[in-house]
């Protein structure tokens, strides 16, 4: 707190509280969204559990509020449903100190945040009397969430928004960028683009739909581990370029179908397409859909029990 002259500054509001998790180095900073007074507690699935919290991770380099402050909106909504919700900044992001390499994407794709997330989950559990947490990640945050789930006993579920399972290609050659731009702009270009997509699709089939060479193998292994264990997972997908619903663009490998297949018999993976939004899910349609689908999913796997005292 700003302990200074005539300070009008506080750390706690009626529904929110700033937190500093100091169980390790660096101190992880975040915001805790409290369930309203009198709201029933939430029962976890673990033995002897009490409440399940929701933990939001950063999406790539965005601060914990996320695009259009969508994470604030979701955390408020889930807290109102009885799930204590936490938005944190991972080391080097937002308000948390720490060094980040310039190639943050490679760092995240390698699962480097998993250990600190495991520490955060343990600390939140202890400090807020939680049975465990559901980790929510968007895009690169979803990648970190999968790695963390594999390394964190306290993770009871995953909500993944537009996760990706491939590694970044080398920088596209200038000529390809120009051709893509042309294919978007002109009608002839669009026709050529469609032909290109069909050829890509044909090539993929000829290859027997093999996993592409740039697949993120360590991430797929972590996914297999958590999905096979029967961890409840909600995968939410936004429409992409030429890719409505959960299907990928023609000519691209169908990772969603592939990872759902990896989960096998114990699978509790639910996949939902969110229409009318973009990759950020930050517009009104997107954020309301995320709320609706996630609340329904939470109610199924982590029901709020009015009989359990808080």
């Amino acid at each position: 707190m700003l302990a200074a002259k005539g300070t009008p500054v506080i750390e706690t509001l009626e529904s929110r509280q700033l937190i500093a998790l100091d169980g390790g180095d660096p101190v992880v900073r975040g915001t805790y969204h409290r369930a309203p007074d009198g709201c029933p507690a939430c029962v976890g699935e673990a033995e002897g559990s009490s409440r399940v919290g929701i933990l939001f991770l950063n999406s790539l380099t965005l601060p914990r509020a996320a695009t259009g402050d969508s994470s604030v909106y979701w955390a408020d909504a889930f807290a109102r449903c009885g799930y204590p919700s936490f938005r944190i900044d991972l080391p080097g992001l937002g308000d948390t100190e720490g060094e980040l390499p310039l190639d943050v994407l490679h760092f995240i794709n390698s699962g480097e945040f998993a250990s600190v997330i495991a520490r955060v989950v343990a600390e939140l559990g202890k400090r807020f009397d939680l049975a465990g947490v559901v980790i929510v990640g968007h895009c690169a945050g979803a990648v970190s969430a999968i790695y963390a789930a594999a390394a964190t006993p306290g993770c009871q579920g995953l909500v993944l928004m537009d996760p990706y399972f491939h590694l970044r290609q080398a920088v596209r050659p200038w000529i390809r960028e120009q051709m893509s731009a042309w294919a978007r702009r002109s009608s002839v270009g669009r026709t050529c683009g469609k032909v290109y997509d069909r050829l890509g699709d044909l090539w993929l089939r000829m290859q027997g739909n093999q996993v592409p060479r740039n697949a993120n193998s360590p991430l797929l292994r972590a996914w297999k581990q958590v999905a096979e264990s029967g961890l409840p997972i909600l995968l939410l997908k936004a429409p992409g370029l030429k890719a409505p619903g959960v299907k990928p663009r023609p000519g691209e490998f169908d990772y969603v179908r592939y990872v759902v297949g990896l989960a096998k018999r114990k699978s509790r993976v639910s996949v939902i397409a969110v229409e009318g939004t973009d990759h950020s899910f930050a517009n009104r349609t997107g954020r309301e859909a995320i709320c609706r689908h996630t609340e329904t999913w939470l109610a199924t796997h982590f029901p709020v029990a009015s009989s359990v005292p808080r």
Partner: protein, 265 residues
């Protein structure tokens, strides 16, 4: 480092503030960040700048606009006047911590207009502006154009596609447009044309003459991304901006050396 986050009470809302504390600071500075969606893109280098200043003896206070980020309030209901009031309250509070310590104001992008208006009204011994537009509409328009291009690419096809000109027409006709998760009202759009730098801020020398205190105006280029918009959306990677921090810190120290606080009193 000693970084203290809190909610600063203002009428009708709480501003999220982070004070980068310094024992016996040589100066204090209020950092006024960029508009709404640009807050997110520029956050890391902006925080690093605050840490750089604190590590070198200048206590820095940064905050989120009312209705944005960690601050409370409803974005759609906010006006430029509300955001001006926030700067005024924070400058007064920071200045009053120890009035004898020199005090500077620094604004980035739209924050440059807010900082310059507070400075012209008497707050601060020195002012730094990074990529401050002449009026707020420049910020809104460039944000809208960038977002509309991305929308066209990813979301809609055929007749559903809208250009930035279509969205501007919608705003001018009294409608609302949701840009990067923030709902812009036609009132905000209209007000943005008349919300600009104070008179006399045509250039650095003129601004300093007008305010009788030192002013530094820097137009950041793409090599300062993601503090400013660089290439295509999502392509602004992190980079080492210590050269920028060192230059501006050096200027601050030179201009504030030997000065006492409270120029506007």
């Amino acid at each position: 480092m000693d970084e203290q986050a809190g909610y600063f009470r203002v009428p009708g809302a709480h501003l999220y503030t982070v004070l980068h504390r310094v024992e016996d600071p040589v100066a204090r500075i209020l950092l006024v960040g960029p508009f709404a969606s640009e807050r997110h893109n520029s956050y890391i280098p902006w925080v690093r700048w605050a840490r750089y200043l604190a590590a070198h003896g200048i206590e820095a206070l940064r905050y989120d606009y009312r209705g944005v980020g960690e601050s409370t309030g409803v974005f759609e209901q906010m006006t430029f006047d509300d955001w001006c009031d926030d700067v005024r309250v924070l400058t007064e509070w920071l200045k009053n911590q120890s009035p004898e310590v020199p005090f500077a104001v620094h604004g980035l992008e739209l924050g440059g207009i807010l900082a310059a208006r507070a400075f012209a009204a008497g707050a601060g011994n020195a002012l730094i502006l990074w990529s401050a537009p002449s009026n707020a509409n420049q910020v809104l328009k460039s944000t809208l154009m960038r977002w509309a291009r991305l929308e066209q690419l990813l979301l809609k096809g055929g007749d559903e596609r809208k250009s930035s000109a279509d969205y501007i027409r919608q705003l001018e006709a009294g409608g609302r447009v949701e840009v990067e998760g923030y709902e812009w009202s036609s009132e905000l759009w209209r007000a943005s044309f008349n919300f600009g730098l104070p008179g006399g801020f045509t250039d650095e020398a003129a601004a300093a003459d007008h305010c009788l205190r030192p002013v530094r105006i820097v137009e950041l280029s793409k090599n300062a991304a993601p503090l400013v918009k660089g290439g295509a959306a999502g392509s602004d990677e992190l980079r080492d901006l210590s050269w920028l921090y060192a230059e501006n810190f050096g200027w601050l120290v030179r201009k504030l050396a030997g000065r006492k606080g409270n120029p506007g009193d």
